[in-house]
């Protein structure tokens, strides 16, 4: 009887640890630098709220072939808040995909990256951060265009006047 009890207990333990998080409820918000005036580098933030049936998990994020650490914020109830953020130069537009893995997934990815293999594990969930590289400055300043327009008008008038005086 005791043995059975111990077996059940061990099984339960095993299941709970091996289960990880199969069906997380995820809410995500993202941010990326839209206006270059307000940031010297392009910034990407993905904030997620994960409810893993009350389980406490730790996440890792795979972004562009690199494993980034994910920070955990305050826990309210069963929902845990996580954040991944990084900075880049103001280069590319386009969305960035952030894939979230738990500890096991992360270690397998680390192994794959070390040996240069392709990453095959599927993430727990993934988030897309849309990014548009925009700057406040226009390519051709309006003042310049205004000057050109003014000169054009003056030139046309001058031509007409010369014609009249001929």
């Amino acid at each position: 009887m005791v043995k059975l009890g111990i077996c059940v207990l061990l099984l339960a333990l095993a299941l709970s640890t091996a289960n990880g998080c199969t069906n997380p409820k995820v809410k995500s918000t993202t941010y990326s630098t839209e206006n270059q005036y307000f940031s010297g580098e392009s910034v990407f933030i993905a904030q997620v709220e994960v409810d893993c049936n009350g389980e406490s998990i730790s996440l890792h994020a795979l972004v562009g072939g690199q494993l980034l650490p994910v920070s955990k914020g305050i826990t309210s109830g069963s929902t845990e808040h996580f954040q991944v953020s990084w900075t880049e130069d103001h280069d590319r537009s386009g969305s960035r995909e952030v894939k979230f893995y738990d500890d096991n997934g992360a270690s397998s990815i680390r192994k794959a990256l070390r040996y240069g293999e392709e990453v095959t594990t599927s993430p727990l969930f993934s988030v897309d951060i849309k990014h548009k590289n925009s700057s406040n400055e226009m390519w051709l300043s309006p003042a310049f265009l205004a000057m050109i327009a003014g000169l054009l008008v003056y030139w046309l008038a001058y031509m007409a006047k010369c014609k009249l005086q001929e």
Partner: protein, 184 residues
């Protein structure tokens, strides 16, 4: 793509902390070129572990953006990391919006962590210091391209140019027609 901060650690004349512990140094910088009220203010925290062992249970707390002056747009101001390995770094970004224009003093954030030998440490990030948040009107006047203003200007000045032009053109076209007819 991402800046691989595989940094080179240089220790000066001083000895490293303890015997093989974690040592976190952190910088808190403002990435903005211009700080404008109601617009994004981007703060980047970079934590570097220059010690010889991993830092565990790292807690970053930043209380320098009180709710009455700043709206948190994105990012967590209080956040933890399980481990920061030695010779590695972590970056964290928070975006806030200043509610009003004026001078603010952005101070440090507090870092608490445990080095591998169960030694608790408290550290402080660098502080960006006093910053000036511009009112939106001033920023718009100085830095933004004034397309709308130019369009308004041309719309308003168009009558003074177009009206005489129309008058002239009317008589001119009539004259041209007359000359053309006469030649035939």
């Amino acid at each position: 793509m991402l800046k691989v901060l595989a940094f080179c650690l240089v220790v000066g004349l001083c000895l490293p902390l303890g015997h093989g512990g974690a040592n976190l140094i952190a910088s808190k910088t403002i990435l903005n070129e211009h700080m404008v009220e109601g617009k994004d203010l981007t703060i980047k925290y970079s934590i570097y572990n220059v010690g010889t062992s991993a830092a565990v249970n790292v807690l970053l707390e930043d209380s320098s953006f009180p709710e009455e002056h700043f709206v948190i747009e994105q990012g967590l101001l209080t956040t933890t990391w399980d481990r920061i390995q030695s010779s590695s770094n972590v970056s964290h970004v928070v975006v806030v919006l200043p509610r009003e224009a004026g001078a603010y003093n952005i101070s440090w954030a507090r870092l608490t962590y445990t080095s591998d030998e169960s030694k608790g440490m408290t550290g402080f990030t660098s502080a960006p210091g006093p910053v000036l948040v511009l009112p939106f009107a001033e920023f718009s006047r100085k830095y933004e391209g004034h397309l709308m203003e130019w369009l308004a200007f041309f719309t308003m000045s168009a009558p003074t140019i177009l009206l005489p032009f129309m008058l002239w053109y009317r008589s001119y076209s009539k004259y041209e027609n007359m000359m053309a007819k006469k030649q035939h």
